[in-house]
Chain length 388, copies 2
């Protein structure tokens, strides 16, 4: 079966950060209302709702969020509302489910959203809950956490390819420079490489400035079959590639510490589907949960050869004005990482770029990629979007 | 678009109960392996995996279960594995997502599963976690729990329709009688109405025997496009109706305490899609999380007029040998309720009935219905299955 073409016709988001007084429902509803208005549709036209959320059960004892939010939003009670969870890639999985519902011809208009509230719980609880996406029967039991996982990746990358801790730190410097102009970003301060180098050690070799900040936030999008999209929005952006992979969820299964196969598999599937090459891409929002992750991901996505990602950042290839701007939004590192919302936050940023109205506009951007990863190599989604 | 026809070609399950030494992964893998063998397919033919789970994050700090289980099972790392959550209807949502993937033509063969581990955590923690599907910003905050919710429904049903506590207790007696012959059931003892009446009060008017038992367990199914199903299995059962609704997730929104609109909406959609009437149904597995729930659900599904469900149980209409056997498996009440697995446990029981090899076989059963509800009216799925 040839899938139908699907477009993003509306996007909405809260800022990411420390959103005091905001609840899971208030944030999700705000992002959805903005996306619905942006699309110019009415709520009753929505035929299904998918929500991404990772941590609200463990942190706040609240599950079954999809119908609760659908109901608060006033969606038709006759439609389905489904929560999907895939750790830090929960929101992009919701995006992909919405895409599939329309590509298949089962629906014409679908609302997708992601939400997370992380800043009210004690930090130890947040760390423990984030580790819930590591296999607790095996590697989680050893005390492995995400800083530990990415520190191992960093050490090995440095050993194999001569990547330096300064090159890794340059990711944070670049992403803070980008995020400083993004009103949705949690941090707006420009920092220097010295700031990164002198910041507190978290897990050798990673320092606090190598880690993205836990945040609150919600993002949403309205998807529509491309044949109908023009009716609603002149600003429609088409989803030309969509992939989600399982990968290898443990280090033991991966058998190495220099790449995430889930990313490469998803990228290969998405690019094949889109019929475009890596060179056609104008802008990338990828999953820089740690500074080293941006380097590893940019290689695994196929933009650079394995081991050459660090040189690309040092040479300015991935900065604004470079050949392939990565994370012009500021990325997870500076914009913040409300885990269950991030995947749709990336879609928001790319859609704004392809519409030509981003605060850090990449001139003439026509094709953008989002990359959202969950767990220790356990889930990966890649989406390729194109301006019409 | 006309959806493609979809069949269940394999089912697998663990027994439900207190499964000491079993883990989330070991149970889910066991159920999936049985379903794959039953279908006669090879693992590499599976094109997508959906997993239902509700409570493992809150109870055991383990999330991102879909890829962890897919990987343990040895599925292809290139395919997607997605966890869905909708409280106690999580597994039937996984079933429906699998159905949609094939109906749409996006996949030919999909594996779906549900799993829950509830008996190792302290009971207070289980109760609190189950309440996580109640809106914690409003009604959950008042201390409402599920026994409280269903006690209110019972009181109002008694007030409005003259339903008696004895009639409500007869549901438990019937379901224990049915479950006593089901090797997958947690409880195998026959009980009397006196046993129910004299059991410990939990929440007036509901006694301990009016409440289903928290349990461990996993269930799975292999779905396939009907045009291909014959290749793999002579025992294929077709999904002729599928619906999932949002309903009204709070008592405040429902505005009454005698019915769950989510059930009625889902049933109406599923029967319309299937093109069969309530009278055509030979067997029903419905969501009797409390004895009163079976009475309310049987009315809301449209099998009896509102207020007449209690008489049906008293007159033996719903017992084995009656006109419409309900929960011949023993239901949640006697078989047990591993919340994230139950929806697929119902599918397992109905498929066995339609194949003609159930321990409590309803002679000549051709059409069966499953009904799986989540939260306080927040999610409902209804599926209608037919023997070929």
């Amino acid at each position: 079966m040839k899938p139908r073409r699907v477009s993003v016709i509306g996007v909405g988001t809260t800022p990411y950060g420390l959103l005091e007084g905001q609840t899971l429902k208030s944030m999700a509803v705000a992002a959805c209302v903005e996306a619905i208005r942006d699309a110019g549709i009415e709520k009753k036209q929505i035929q299904a709702f998918y929500l991404g959320n990772y941590i609200s059960g463990m942190l706040m004892g609240q599950e079954t969020l999809a119908p609760l939010i659908a109901s608060s939003l006033g969606l038709n009670p006759e439609i389905s509302s489904t929560k999907v969870e895939g750790a830090c890639s929960s929101a992009s999985i919701a995006f992909r489910q919405g895409y599939l519902m329309i590509a298949s011809g089962l629906c014409n208009i679908v609302l997708v959203a992601g939400v997370e509230k992380m800043t009210t719980a004690p930090k130890e609880k947040v760390t423990a809950s984030l580790s819930g996406s590591i296999d607790m029967e095996t590697e989680g039991r050893t005390g492995l956490t995400f800083p530990g996982f990415w520190a191992m990746m960093a050490k090995r990358h440095m050993y194999e390819f001569g990547t330096t801790i300064e090159q890794i730190g340059m990711v944070t410097v670049k992403n803070h420079r980008n995020g400083s102009k993004n009103p949705r970003a949690r941090f707006r301060n420009i920092i220097t490489l010295d700031d990164v180098m002198n910041s507190r050690l978290v897990c050798d070799p990673l320092k606090i400035y190598d880690c993205c900040p836990n945040s609150d936030g919600a993002s949403a999008a309205v998807l529509c079959s491309s044949s109908m999209a023009r009716e609603f929005s002149e600003k429609a952006v088409e989803i030309i590639g969509s992939a989600q992979t399982t990968g290898y969820p443990t280090l033991f299964d991966m058998g190495q510490e220099i790449m995430l196969p889930a990313t490469t598999m998803a990228a290969n599937q998405a690019f094949k589907m889109a019929g475009v090459s890596r060179k056609d891409v104008d802008i990338v929002e990828l999953h820089d949960c740690f500074s080293i992750a941006e380097i590893v991901d940019s290689e695994d996505l196929g933009f650079f050869k394995k081991g050459e990602g660090a040189r690309a950042i040092e040479e300015g290839v991935t900065q604004l004005g470079g050949k392939l701007p990565i994370n012009p939004s500021g990325g997870l590192m500076c914009k913040g990482h409300p885990v269950g919302a991030t995947g749709l936050g990336q879609v928001y940023e790319v859609v704004k770029q392809l519409r030509g109205d981003h605060e850090n506009q990449v001139k003439g951007a026509e094709i953008g990629v989002t990359h959202n990863a969950g767990g220790t190599g356990a889930v990966c989604t890649v989406h390729i979007l194109r301006r019409k």
